[in-house]
């Protein structure tokens, strides 16, 4: 009996599988829906940013569908996204990309969260010639592999803190500065490091400490003790949210005085909220800020986007959500210009993208990275115990003047 039951189950599953693979080959455009696929981190260590990404996608889908959808060959289509949870695991992400393409028949992909996972998926989409617009993989190595079907709406990682070095040199009267830096050993942070190395070379600056932090490490007291001893002009730290939080905690505890502190992931780490006054004067790189003056007809301005997002999801949008929303605007634009659902036609249209969205200007370079949008820097400033991020560079959007040098700990209340 048992054997027969097993046989029966095998038989049924075989039929189901066959049916699935048969029906799904038409799934790229179903009726009035254009189906996009995305593997996204809904559980695991990237789950909070994964959810920010998903919320960004969903917000844009809803808005575009409500405002008439996508017009191709005179017919209106709506967006629909198939999501799978990649568990923050690159191997799983690559499997799910295969599944989206081969079983669900998806012909257009949206990116996952993080450089690491995008790196895992890109070879798959490339193999099947599936255009992927991604919004959360900034690692430079994504754009140097010659991928033809990968498009990123965000600035590459090496640009994150280059501006900060320029700013430090400017404050130093145009002369080179002494830089101390500590970066986590992962693709993204190491690319930020490469950007700093370039900037140092360009400005004649000297790197006096160059530490690499292991991923498991949540203690950088040794690095900071060295910083204290050699007194650099700038301290640069990049190690995702853990790096940002650890740095501020230990800098304030060890009373490390540096004239300038440049970091990444300040808003993802909710630095100004978690550390309050201790985080004041930290300079942070960001892809987007709601006060920028970019505009589009779907979301209006950044401020309006932030307001609508707040209403829908109950929190202020981090840049991860904004850039994810922008990815769908890019897809819509490309479909309409291609006026076809042919993958290569859509891909060619994506190459020619040149548009403004609430998130920034978008134009893809030869590697697929966005070359039209500069990074912005904000500085944490406090009034009493109330701290917030204020844009200080580039000057065009600066709401506040860059405060330099950071006062010594002994002078801070």
């Amino acid at each position: 009996m048992n054997k027969i039951a097993k046989l029966f189950v095998t038989f049924i599953s075989a039929i189901t599988l066959a049916l699935v693979s048969f029906t799904s080959s038409f799934a790229k455009v179903e009726g009035e829906y254009i189906v996009l696929g995305s593997a996204i981190s809904l559980t695991g260590k990237y789950s909070s940013n994964g959810v920010h990404t998903q919320n960004g996608y969903n917000m844009a889908v809803e808005r575009i569908n409500k405002m008439g959808g996508v017009e191709v060959q005179g017919k209106k289509y709506k967006f629909e996204i198939i999501y799978y949870d990649d568990e923050s695991n690159p191997k799983r992400a690559a499997q799910l990309a295969e599944r989206l393409i081969k079983q669900d028949g998806v012909h257009y992909m949206l990116g996952p969260y993080s450089s690491g996972l995008t790196k895992a998926i890109a070879p798959v989409t490339e193999k099947y010639k599936i255009p992927m617009v991604e919004a959360n993989g900034a690692s430079r190595s994504l754009f140097t592999k010659g991928y033809k079907y990968l498009f990123a709406v965000l600035s590459p990682a090496n640009q994150y803190l280059e501006v900060a070095i320029d700013l430090a040199v400017e404050k130093n009267g145009g002369k080179g500065v002494k830089i101390a830096q500590a970066f986590e050993q992962d693709a993204f942070s190491q690319d930020v490091r490469l950007g700093i190395l370039d900037a140092a070379k360009r400005t004649g600056s000297e790197i006096i400490i160059d530490d690499k932090l292991p991923k498991e490490l949540n203690d950088m007291a040794a690095t900071l003790a060295k910083v204290k001893a050699v007194k650099p002009d700038v301290l640069v730290v990049s190690g995702h949210t853990k790096g940002a939080l650890t740095a501020i905690r230990q800098i304030s505890e060890m009373k490390v005085d540096v004239p300038m502190l440049a970091m990444t992931h300040c808003d993802a780490a909710k630095l100004s909220k978690q550390h309050g006054k201790k985080s004041e004067f930290a300079l942070c790189a960001s892809q987007w800020h709601k006060n920028l003056s970019y505009k589009d007809k779907f979301f209006g301005s950044g401020k309006k986007y932030a307001k609508d997002f707040q209403k829908e999801f109950g929190y202020d949008p981090p840049y991860q959500s904004a850039e994810s929303s922008a990815a769908l605007l890019v897809f819509k634009d490309a479909f309409e210009r291609a006026n076809s659902f042919d993958r290569d036609a859509v891909r060619d249209a994506l190459v020619d993208t040149e548009m403004q969205t609430f998130y920034g200007n978008i134009k893809f370079g030869p590697g697929g990275q966005n070359v039209a949008k500069p990074m912005i820097l904000f500085q944490v400033r406090c009034k009493g115990d109330d701290c917030e991020n204020r844009v200080v560079a580039p000057t065009k959007w600066a709401s506040d003047k860059f405060y330099h040098p950071i006062p010594k700990w002994s002078e801070r209340s």
Partner: protein, 288 residues
């Protein structure tokens, strides 16, 4: 001065590691179980303190509340899973606790979110030698609390009835049973005490370092190492080797560079394991 700073940082960190390691040594010695979920119990304890911080209670009270809650978590864990693997092969217990570790990570991720969080103690900093050596008071506090609990536990193990029962069970479970010790109860209490120690360490970590659902493993590895070096149930040795490991880490960081810090720890582990193989094969360890 740099060396003074490194030494003090290392020792303060090491004392905290030693506390976690003592819990591991205790239940390893008594139940012959290597608990892979040790680090995750620590992080859970940290989240208890962090939750208190969120509702406005000073997180330092976590060193009292967290061990109480964690004791029951430990006992529950024993009743659900651990009691089924106590007398089995060491490999089975590693597998079982590895599974528990994964479940705990996912649960913490589900409940507390995947964000890295910190609790603020606002304890300030002690400055020595004209501000050239700085010691965060939160680290001094955590070392002090660790020592306090460790001493209390040693006295308890020596003087109390349960303490004697635990030591008897560790030496010979069968003989203890014959003499009327309820070993089942002893096992549950031991695992509970271990979890409580993890809870204390977690609360201290929430105010000195950072919390994240997936950072438990480094604590497991470190406590495993300390226990391997110190032997089972020898508290002074655990404390010493804990501090030794803290110092080793800090100095590896200074001399070899930060990128080799964790690598150096693992290299040391390999070296010690090879060395211990010879020693362990000669005599059988038991809880003194």
């Amino acid at each position: 001065m740099l060396m003074v700073q490194a030494s003090l940082d290392g020792i303060l960190l090491g004392i905290l590691f030693a506390l976690i390691a003592y819990g591991m040594a205790l239940q390893w010695g008594v139940m012959n179980i290597i608990n892979i979920a040790q680090g995750d119990l620590v992080i859970l304890g940290g989240y208890i303190a962090y939750t208190m911080y969120l509702v406005g209670i000073h997180p330092a009270w976590g060193v009292i509340v967290s061990p109480i809650i964690m004791y029951f978590v430990g006992v529950l864990l024993y009743k659900l899973v651990i009691n089924k693997v106590v007398d089995r092969d060491l490999f089975i217990s590693i597998l079982a606790t590895f599974g528990i570790a994964i479940v705990f990570q996912q649960l913490m991720n589900f409940i507390f979110g995947a964000d890295v969080v910190v609790a603020q103690s606002e304890y300030g900093t002690t400055m020595l030698f004209d501000n050239s050596v700085t010691l965060p008071n939160s680290k001094i506090f955590s070392a002090f609390i660790s020592v306090l609990y460790a001493v209390a536990l040693v006295i308890y193990m020596k003087k109390s009835k349960l303490g004697r029962a635990i030591r008897a069970t560790a030496q010979n479970a069968r003989a203890a049973k014959i003499l009327g010790v309820d070993t089942e109860k002893v096992y549950a209490a031991t695992f509970g005490i271990n979890a409580a120690l993890c809870g204390i360490a977690g609360a201290l970590i929430s105010i000195t370092l950072t919390l994240h659902p997936y950072v438990g493993l480094p604590y497991t590895v470190r406590s495993f190492m300390i226990v391997i070096v110190a032997g089972l149930g020898n508290l002074p040795a655990v404390a010493l080797s804990g501090m030794g490991l803290g110092l080793f880490e800090e100095f590896a960081d200074y001399i070899l560079g930060t990128e080799f810090r964790i690598g150096a720890v693992f290299m040391l582990l390999v070296f010690i394991l090879v060395y211990r193989r010879f020693k362990l094969s000669k005599k059988r360890e038991y809880l003194k």
